[in-house]
């Protein structure tokens, strides 16, 4: 039960489509507590990634993820560009040379990616950022794996925890990013970055749900 290079590419492409569909929704969330561009930013980046698929379709998974990261860094801008860019760059380093990923490989990739986001953005749990969705997702993934569940089940558990983390951002007062300028007024709104992060892991869970054992 492994994730092959083409599965990774399928996941990235699926996520690009999810972002395109949810562009207005992400932008609306960002209008409420930010500057109203998160959907546009992510869509610009992932459309560029999609256009680059032919260039990296025959590379190893590490190279694929690194190219995704580089592309995001140079097309997204804003806070999410360097953050998601770093996520993919670090995940790419953790999977360098691999043509397929075991559950443990995926745990290592996600760990590296999330570490990269935290290293760059210095957000703590509870600051109302994408970290609030990603850290619980990573945690749930590890727990599911150590309890002996397989890849599809673990991905599902990870996406579910990610969703909980995302929803848990609603009551929080933001302490990082633009939303923090609103102070108390940021409470009562769901963080846009946490939302796009949940979409990312949800896309992985769905995209890889029927992988052969």
């Amino acid at each position: 039960m492994t994730v092959r290079r083409d599965d990774v590419i399928a996941w990235i492409q699926a996520y690009a489509d999810v972002i395109a569909e949810n562009k207005a929704r992400l932008t609306q969330l960002d209008s409420d507590i930010g500057d109203g561009d998160h959907g546009t930013n992510m869509d610009r980046g992932f459309q560029a990634v999609k256009a680059k698929v032919p260039e990296f379709a025959d590379k190893d998974i590490g190279a694929v993820l690194k190219t995704v990261g580089m592309t995001l860094v140079s097309t997204v801008g804003g806070a999410s560009g360097p953050l998601y860019g770093t996520f993919f760059l670090q995940a790419g380093s953790a999977t360098a040379g691999k043509m397929e990923l075991s559950l443990n490989d995926w745990i290592a990739a996600l760990q590296a990616g999330v570490d990269g986001i935290i290293m760059r953005g210095k957000a703590n749990l509870g600051d109302k950022t994408m970290v609030d969705a990603l850290l619980p997702a990573l945690q749930a993934l590890k727990e599911s794996a150590s309890s002996g569940a397989g890849l599809p089940a673990s991905l599902k558990a990870s996406a579910a925890a990610c969703e909980q983390g995302m929803l848990a951002t609603v009551p929080l007062v933001a302490r990082k990013g633009r939303a923090s300028y609103l102070g108390e007024r940021s409470a009562g709104h769901q963080d846009p970055g946490a939302t796009s992060s949940h979409m990312l892991l949800q896309a992985a869970a769905e995209s890889w749900s029927m992988l052969a054992d």
Partner: protein, 333 residues
């Protein structure tokens, strides 16, 4: 959405093309990655000054490229920080051998992208310093936020720092002047209306006909408090008081006073604000040594204004007075 545009996604590119043709004597525009450089870049032996940020704040930053101010500016998408590849190419294009100063407004996106760019530029052997502007007193509790936003002071710091660089001072000294202007400057802004991001197509926030937002930034973020509309005398007092208390500015100080329009506010009203500001400062024996009144750091079509004060000394005044020749700010040449 009422705007003079074609497609939202083409606004920035089309405006760059217009600037290139309208100001061919002052600047050049590079595309993919996008940046604006002064026509004679790189200037040998001079510290290059690069700034940048999301578009939608025109004339800042592209309009401040030219002799005596910026060597280059990187425009991002509307309200979105530009990317490290733009900054790297711009840094290389303006490096005249004396290093490059990055003037960065304190927003998470700008900080992260400029950090990555500086790392890349250093990797290519270019000496880079960064100064972060963070003058917005509307952001309180900066421990619990991303810190104060960089707003009005940025324009003044770019002018004054540009003049210091023009004197061929070394990188460290040029960066120190920039830090000094930022340290001695404070800003507070307000909005009468929201702005409308072209790609979003509708106002970022709703503001009833009789209300205003106090403590807004320059990206259509709602401010910290919303209240009933007041007279300009009351509004100016509300903006100036936290500025004066924060530094603090004291009786006998000389200041550079900057009344800035947010993009949808006519000059007539900015002068009315300046009139109130002059009265308040006069009453506190604070001398307006220099002033700037106009729309220089805007937030698309938002109606509203910001007030910036920078404490000045003779050196800063002479750097402010030094010639500047850019599309957006020009004197002495």
């Amino acid at each position: 959405m009422k705007k003079l545009i074609n497609k939202p996604e083409d606004v920035v590119k089309e405006a760059l093309q217009a600037m290139a043709s309208a100001h061919a004597d002052l600047i050049k525009v590079h595309y993919d990655p996008n940046f604006i450089v002064r026509a004679d870049a790189p200037v040998k032996g001079k510290v290059g000054i690069l700034s940048g940020g999301g578009s939608g704040h025109e004339p800042m930053h592209g309009g401040f490229v030219g002799m005596g101010m910026l060597d280059a500016a990187c425009p991002g998408a509307v309200f979105t920080s530009p990317t490290p590849d733009q900054m790297l190419e711009a840094t290389k294009a303006i490096n005249g051998g004396a290093g490059v100063l990055h003037i960065v407004k304190n927003y998470t996106g700008d900080i992260l992208n400029f950090e990555m760019a500086a790392d890349l530029a250093k990797g290519e052997g270019i000496e880079v310093e960064a100064v972060v502007t963070n003058d917005d007193v509307a952001v309180q509790d900066s421990l619990y936020t991303a810190g104060r936003r960089g707003v009005g002071v940025t324009v003044l710091a770019e002018k004054i720092t540009g003049a210091a660089a023009e004197q061929k001072r070394p990188l460290k000294a040029v960066a120190d002047i920039c830090r000094k202007v930022n340290a001695q400057g404070r800003t507070m802004g307000m909005a009468l209306t929201s702005c409308t991001v072209p790609a979003a197509g509708k106002p970022t926030f709703d503001l009833p006909e009789d209300e205003m937002e106090i403590g807004i930034g320059i990206h259509g973020e709602p401010g910290r408090t919303r209240m009933k509309l007041k007279t300009v005398a009351e509004i100016t007092e509300m903006l100036v008081k936290p500025i004066l208390e924060d530094l603090p500015f004291k009786s006998g100080d000389s200041v550079l006073a900057f009344v800035n329009g947010m993009g949808g506010t006519p000059l007539l009203e900015l002068y009315v604000v300046y009139n109130e500001l002059a009265k308040i400062l006069g009453g506190r024996q604070i001398k307006i040594a220099r002033n700037l009144v106009g729309s220089y750091i805007t937030s698309l079509d938002m109606a509203g204004c910001s007030i910036t004060l920078v404490k000045m000394d003779d050196e800063l005044i002479s750097l402010w007075d030094a010639p500047v020749k850019t599309p957006g700010l020009r004197w002495g040449i």
